[in-house]
């Protein structure tokens, strides 16, 4: 039983109590299994299952698409290659820079992982993206955060890398009072946080929009007065928003990857 279905039940059961808008409960479906390993509690919910389905489907797709990669690609290989080339050429080479190609597999993993999980937001029966759980974008952002700092230290040396961040070259000395705290905040807090929150909030809001319009349509159809007229409007909006969600799904996967590309670029090339 999904949380949306529970909410649907609430909506259908609401007799004269008015429309019960779906809330945070959407993202905390009932726990299917519950276990603890080394003191860490694991709660398996349908969102966890969706994450694994998306991940395994992605892995299977990537494996099948790249297995026996030929000079003249088949349909599956073409799709996989197009996605991989988009990241490899469009981000790793053009955004990260001439030395960015070794990062292509990482960036492609990021792109494909986010895309596959996001797509679950509009796939029937799943219809929620694991990325609307803050834990998963946070994991990706944290990995990115560690990676671009590590690459910065490796490429420029720790002293140079941190000095350039603390004391931005080409800035008048008195301005450091203002600029240095901003730069520290920017590089070590804001970047990973915005990276995670942007993706999370987009998928979270997208899901809420779809649920509200869908449940609203059901409510308006069954409430039994003149509101029935507005039912189709709500249903239409749910469909329109689904297509909008599709756009957001691709856009957020791409934006996350491109931003990570620019951060890597800043770490590899001595900036300013």
């Amino acid at each position: 039983m999904t949380s949306s279905a529970l909410a649907l039940g609430d909506v259908l059961a609401a007799n004269g109590e008015g429309f019960e808008a779906p809330g945070l409960g959407e993202f905390y479906p009932e726990v299917i299994a519950n276990f603890s390993v080394l003191g860490v509690d694991f709660e398996i919910t349908r969102i966890t299952l969706i994450l694994w389905i998306a991940t395994l489907a992605l892995v299977a797709f990537l494996y099948l698409a790249s297995r026996n990669a030929k000079i003249v690609p088949g349909k599956l290989q073409f799709v996989g290659e197009t996605g991989y080339s988009l990241v490899r050429d469009g981000i790793a080479r053009d955004v990260v820079g001439p030395r960015g190609l070794p990062f292509a597999p990482f960036l492609a993993s990021l792109f494909f992982f986010i895309l596959a999980n996001n797509l679950m937001a509009i796939i029937p029966l799943a219809q929620i993206s694991p990325m609307s759980k803050f834990a998963f974008p946070l994991v990706l952002a944290a990995i990115c955060w560690v990676l671009y700092i590590y690459i910065g230290i490796r490429e420029q040396g720790a002293g140079r890398y941190f000095k350039d961040i603390l004391f931005l070259p080409g800035v008048p000395k008195p301005m450091y009072i203002l600029v240095t705290p901003i730069e520290i905040l920017q590089n070590f807090v804001v970047r990973p946080f915005t990276l995670a929150v942007r993706l999370f909030a987009n998928m979270f809001a997208g899901h809420m929009l779809l649920v509200v319009f869908s449940l609203g349509a059901v409510y308006l159809f069954q409430v039994g007065n003149y509101s029935v007229v507005f039912g189709p409007v709500s249903a239409l909006m749910a469909i329109v928003m689904t297509f909008f969600e599709l756009l957001v799904i691709f856009l957020q996967a791409y934006v996350f990857t491109v931003l990570m590309g620019t951060y890597l670029n800043g770490s590899i090339e001595a900036e300013h």
Binding site: S3, L6, A7, D10, G23, L24, G25, F27, Y28, V40, D41, F42, E43, T48, L51, W52, T55, L58, V59, L62, Y63, A65, S66, R67, N68, A69, K70, I71, P73, Q77, G80, E81, Y84, S85, R88, A104, P105, F106, A108, S109, F112, F113, P130, K133, F134, A135, F136, L138, V139, L140, I143, F200, F204
Partner: protein
Amino acid sequence: MLIWAAEEEHNPLLPPLGEIIIGLIAFAIVLFVMFKFVAPQFEKAFVARRDAIEGGIERAEAMQAEAKAALEQYRAQLAEARTEAAQIRDAARAEGQQIIEELRAQAQEESARILARGEEQLASSRQQVVNELRGQIGTLAVDLAGRVVGESLADDARRSGTVDRFLDDLDGMTAASSDGRGGSSVYVPQDAR
């Protein structure tokens, strides 16, 4: 309503550790597959594709160069053949000229030989006639003289050799008076060339 009660505990920005670990594992699997299988395969395909395209261009260029070389060679051969033909023609003309010269010389020689042989024959038949006449003239003269005298002088004449002597004298006289004029027994070849 139960859901609302449960929600009080949830803060969407504070995820449980379990979810973070699950997310890490899922992404690690994708990373592993990408680094281990997908990226190398795609990169291999890209390299192979680039090689195929560049190789195709190179092959086309090589083929063009080869065709050009073949054309040059053909032209050179054609020119060579032309000069050779001209040489052969010239040689043939020269040879023909030579053959004509030779034939002409041969013909002249032949005609000269035929001429010489004819003259020789003429001379020998003349000598023969002369010799024959010499014998007959002797007997005729003796017979004639015998008939004029009335008795046979043949035995006397034979005995004394008068006729022969007379004829020899006659021969000697003609040889002395006109050298080679009447006596064409000796052929002197006139070398015209």
